[in-house]
Symmetry: C2
Subunit: 344 residues, 2 copies
DNA sequence: TGGCCAACTCAAAGCGCTTTGGAGAATGCG
DNA sequence: CGCATTCTCCAAAGCGCTTTGAGTTGGCCA
């Protein structure tokens, strides 16, 4: 059943039927109801392909999911982010077009999305300090929202969490607990968020006149193995840290594994504090858990971020020439069982 | 730049230009080269919306990512699966349309995809024993591939891993190590794969005349917290298991956490064997890890599965009336550090 | 020379919808 | 009553591509 057939069956023009179904005011209410009823009865759904061509809108948002590292790892954090965004898209009638490409291929992916106009806007994730994608998208004239920021974030719309403050507070907590030998297991420091987190860490240490120890600072792709290996090396060295600030719950699990193998109790012999994206399957929220969260963490739900980013992006589509929308969320410091006073 | 402009600039008809660019034989090679050069020079890309309307194909595959449980959890396993599938789609020029809906909404999502023809085929994941989506899709005439199987898998195309054998072997390994008090932390047993895994576990136990202990068998959404809580309860009980068979690496991490808190060394005081989907950020593959994988596991890369599923699905699109394609992969049993002889 | 086939190329008809620019009918106003 | 509005509704022109069916060449053979 298409529009022509439906309108013929009603003895009306396609124009009227189309307008009735799309809520335009030029059609009498009574007629509209009759048309809607007929459409429903006939199981009519407008062909989205035809509609897209006619309107020039894709009703789709492009997400380019970066595959990081040489092994092209798939970060589970993006799954939650996308789930959040997807909720909003679904609600607003948008499709989510997902393109997974290694970091080098991202530019080509965006170019193609712009060239064949398969999406109305794109979401940019995990920007580097001076991310070339931003200039590219501005150039292409494709609306976009950056989840995160770059060094110079004034010219475009972005959404971010307060990474510096989050990591400063996390480090402060450890310092308050008496820790002085603190390691930082950061994410890749080509990414802007990692640099901000490092700054938060360093600021906190400097404010207390605690020197940072270079061999206790790492910056790699945030896998479980990375946390494990880094912790193993540090814990096996002559001088070892008593606390770890970790960029994600995943490497934090690796740190706990390393500690456990050495007979060190997390939260007593060793403290771990991590950033927690509130990944749903990790359930570090402490909900339904009388014992509380496993990890003390700076928490910010990546899924909620996805929802918010989607909302902002859709606003950007409606009026692409408005001034940039920029939003910063604070994180929440949640106490879990992975931190305790520095061992004496 | 559109086709009309391009063809006018060349002094050729749209037909010829279109055919030249799409590789039809009716155009002289010399002409084709001239056209291609001009298209490239002009930066011409066919408008995908127009093309989709004209061809009646969407060049897109729908994935409906189920949000499980009351909390609508996002399973990170799907991220890897989708990444694998996405690789293939990108290579073949297909888009990946992702729709995230709670389990109850899946049917509506598929219906809509079929109704407005926004995709050429869909991927069905995590089927239940008698999944209604299959009849629905057959009814709608939308090509689909099931990742997993149902109770009666003869009428449709599917791809699955040998879950029964995997879990039988896993359990056998523990039995060989002398364990008799073995717990099963399964996934939700509404899902077909979980039932198969349970069967594998029970078969192995029965073959050795070891009785299963009902209170050591759980079936829930595979979160870290689930593994933790279940293990806590079992380990704190009067009689406690010495080994755990776990449906995924994520709850296995929870089991390890529970054990660690109790001062039990994983791989010595307690054994854990889990199914490992080779999630990239978990890195349980033991690659680049001289100490080997953390967990002994039945391994099958979910990403490779995604790739294979995509390949099969695309074949199905090309010829929807062919007999069902069905493929079963074996898992690989990898020894890690989480298993050891039963404590005496 | 005429006829036929291959090799090219083209005009035009869709694909199914939205949207512009009216047209006719009903209503309001002086 | 006549004219201007306001409601309703319509015909037709796109959107930019693919594809059908129909030429138009030029070469080759009888």
């Amino acid at each position: 059943m298409n529009l022509r057939e439906l309108s013929e069956s009603l003895g009306l023009s396609q124009t009227t039927v189309s307008r009735a179904l799309n809520g335009y005011p030029e059609v009498r209410e009574e007629t509209r109801l009759r048309i809607q009823a007929a459409a429903e009865a006939a199981g009519y759904t407008p062909n989205s392909r035809a509609r897209r061509l006619a309107t020039g809108r894709s009703m789709a948002i492009g997400h380019v999911m970066p595959l990081t590292g040489r092994e092209e790892l798939v970060n589970p954090i993006f799954a939650d982010f996308i789930a959040g965004a997807g909720e909003v898209y679904a609600r607003e009638g948008y499709d989510l077009l997902l393109s997974m490409v290694p970091a080098e291929g991202a530019e080509a992916a965006y170019r193609q999305m712009a060239a064949n106009a398969s999406v109305d806007a794109v979401m940019v994730q995990a920007p580097t300090l001076d991310d070339p994608r931003i200039a590219l998208l501005q150039d292409l004239g494709l609306p976009f929202l950056v989840h995160g920021r770059t060094a110079n974030p004034s010219t475009y719309s972005w959404f971010d969490v307060a990474n510096v403050r989050a990591f400063r507070r996390a480090t402060d907590l450890l310092l308050d607990l008496g820790h002085r030998k603190i390691a930082l297991l950061n994410g890749q420091e080509t990414l802007d968020f990692a640099l901000r987190r490092r700054r938060g860490f360093e600021d906190a240490m400097a404010a207390r006149n605690v020197a940072v120890t270079p061999q206790w600072m790492r910056a790699e792709v945030m896998t479980e193995q990375y946390g494990y290996r880094a912790a193993c090396e540090m814990l096996d060295a002559e001088m070892s840290p008593t606390a770890f600030v970790v960029s994600s719950i995943i490497p934090a699990i690796g740190v706990r594994r390393a500690a456990g193998e050495r007979g060190l109790r997390t939260g007593r012999d060793i403290s771990i504090i991590c950033h927690d994206d509130a990944l749903s399957y990790m359930g570090n929220d402490g909900l339904n858990a009388p014992e509380g969260p496993a990890f003390t963490a700076t928490r910010s739900s990546i899924r909620a971020a996805g929802r918010r980013c989607a909302e902002i992006l859709l606003r950007l589509i409606d009026d692409p020439d408005q001034p940039p929308i920029q939003e910063l969320w604070e994180t929440e410091l949640t106490l879990g069982r992975s931190t305790g006073p520095a061992p004496t």
